[in-house]
């Protein structure tokens, strides 16, 4: 469903991605992990073009959205707007809109992107909140909620638009340890429900549990990938060293 080929990204003179290939199939749960600065977040943000790769191919359902691979003819490109309407994203810092209630954080995109009427949008938003167990908090502002609750609202907001893929950029890294569980529970339920997910995380326990396709990155390169049993069978010395220091 998502195909990255030869994705390179340069910030100024500093190349942070040196040609990344990544394929995500429908219903698959891909986990990206690795040390800080390894480029895993940049890979994730390339999928919905929050970062536009300097070169390389970003395909979603066969349509090219990236700049394409150097040397090949310029591809027919889809618009970033269309791409993002099929891909949901959850951020490390939640990024809820602080001037809106939990409910209206979800109503806003439903109305402006999905063009729902006010009534339909509010109904749907309330149901999304109920799905993450936060219906009672509909009228609260982000500042009145805990980090875990905010992140669950952010997940509900992304899900309310019925995305085909969900991207998670370190969704639990900014949370108190106590609050990590409630967010992971929502994500786990989503994974079991068959959602296609790409997750950047340091929660290797969670990765081991849901990751169908695990990708270890370092310094802008994919070091090693593997399936379900990756965490027991990985062989690259860097991967093993990283695992040893985290687990």
């Amino acid at each position: 469903m998502v195909e990255l080929h030869g994705v390179r990204k340069t910030f100024g003179t500093n190349e942070v991605l040196h040609g990344i290939d990544l394929t995500v199939s429908r219903g698959e749960h891909v986990v990206l992990f690795g040390p800080s600065g390894s480029g895993k977040s940049t890979v994730l943000r390339s999928i919905n073009l929050l970062e536009v790769p300097t070169s390389g191919s970003v395909k979603f359902k066969g349509v090219e959205y990236g700049p394409g691979i150097e040397g090949t003819p310029k591809p027919q490109r889809g618009s970033a707007l269309d791409l993002r309407r099929s891909i949901g994203m959850v951020f490390q810092q939640f990024n809820l809109f602080p001037h809106l209630t939990a409910l209206h954080n979800i109503v806003l995109p439903l109305r402006s992107v999905r063009k729902l009427s006010r009534k339909d949008a509010e109904e749907k938003a309330a149901e999304s909140l109920r799905d993450v167990g936060l219906l009672k908090w509909a009228g609260s502002f982000p500042a009145q909620m805990s980090g875990g609750q905010q992140q669950r609202v952010a997940i509900a907001r992304a899900l309310s638009l019925d995305p085909e893929v969900m991207l998670f950029d370190e969704p639990t890294s900014a949370l108190d340890p106590e609050l990590v569980g409630e967010v992971l529970a929502v994500m786990r339920r989503l994974a079991v429900g068959g959602m296609t997910m790409v997750v950047v995380t340091h929660e290797l326990g969670f990765a081991r549990e849901v990751g169908d396709h695990n990708v270890f990155m370092e310094e802008g390169l994919v070091v090693e990938t593997g399936g379900k049993s990756f965490f027991d069978e990985c062989s690259h010395p860097r991967t093993r060293a990283f695992m040893g220091s985290v687990l």
Binding site: N48, F91, F97, P98, P109, S112, E127, R130, L135, A158
Partner: protein, 274 residues
């Protein structure tokens, strides 16, 4: 000795008292001329409100220009730096007398006052909006974009409301300054508070009484405007604070509460599914 004044030069109504006394302080003058003071205050507020709306809009455009690409940002910066430095008195004489010489078109005092204030204060508002917009974390627009919202929608529904909230105390401050700056429009014959005061003074010679009154009116205006802007801040604060602000937002609260209730009732049906 004192010719009966032509009422039309006072704009509204006629001066009601002609008692002349340099020794006694005739505070009764104020009450006798309350109509004139009232209409002078109304006119000052009208000019400043029209100018506020225009300069907020123009200031926002300038702020976006200032944050934009090369040639645009240069012109916006030039405008801001020039017009921030011009006093209101110079601006209004330039607009009212200068432009009519240059173009042959005569603005009314009201129009000239509005244009003069807008020219100056849009430069200030541009800087206020720019700093407020830059204070927003980049994650806010990223979240909007990631949800599939277009850049204009991200701006109007996500960035502008938050920037307005940040800018509001400064906007209120500036607006009090605008109201006070209408006092210089007496030089182009706008019958605002100072003009009214001068007119009455010219036949009654009670500068202490009359200008004290004028000062009190300005102070009361400043208090009133401060109250209005503080209430607006409370309406925009999250969570909403204060009785008036809560009353204003009570319909939203009621709507959400009834929605929560209706979805709670429906819960048992779909909870089996989850």
């Amino acid at each position: 000795m004192f010719a009966s004044p032509d009422p039309s030069i006072y704009g509204v109504g006629a001066v009601k008292s002609l008692s002349v006394s340099a020794v006694t302080y005739d505070w009764g003058l104020v009450w006798e001329n309350r109509d004139l003071f009232w209409w002078g205050t109304v006119l000052a507020l009208q000019v400043s409100i029209v100018a506020l709306i225009l300069s907020l809009s123009f200031g926002l455009v300038l702020a976006l220009g200032r944050m934009g690409r090369k040639p645009v940002t240069f012109f916006a910066a030039a405008y801001i730096n020039i017009f921030r430095g011009i006093p209101a008195l110079v601006s209004v004489i330039w607009v009212y007398f200068g432009w009519s010489l240059l173009t042959g078109y005569n603005f009314t005092p009201f129009q000239a006052g509005v244009i003069a204030l807008t020219l100056l204060y849009s430069a200030f508002f541009a800087e206020i909006f720019r700093s407020a917009l830059m204070a927003l974390p980049p994650g806010q627009s990223e979240a909007g974009l990631a949800l599939g919202m277009s850049r204009p929608k991200v701006f109007f529904f996500i960035k502008l409301p938050q920037a307005t909230k940040i800018a509001l105390p400064n906007i209120g401050n500036m607006y009090i300054g605008m109201v006070k700056d209408t006092s210089v429009f007496t030089v182009i014959g706008l019958v605002e508070i100072v003009r009214v005061t001068q007119n009455i003074n010219s036949i009654t010679f009670q500068p202490f009484v009359l200008f004290t009154t004028a000062a009190i009116i300005y102070v009361f205006l400043a208090f009133g405007l401060d109250f209005i802007f503080r209430t607006l801040e409370k309406v925009l604060s999250t969570p909403t604070k204060g009785l008036i602000a809560l009353t204003i937002t009570s319909r939203r609260t009621a709507r959400i509460n009834s929605l929560i209730h209706s979805k709670e009732v429906a819960l048992p049906v779909s909870s089996e599914k989850n």
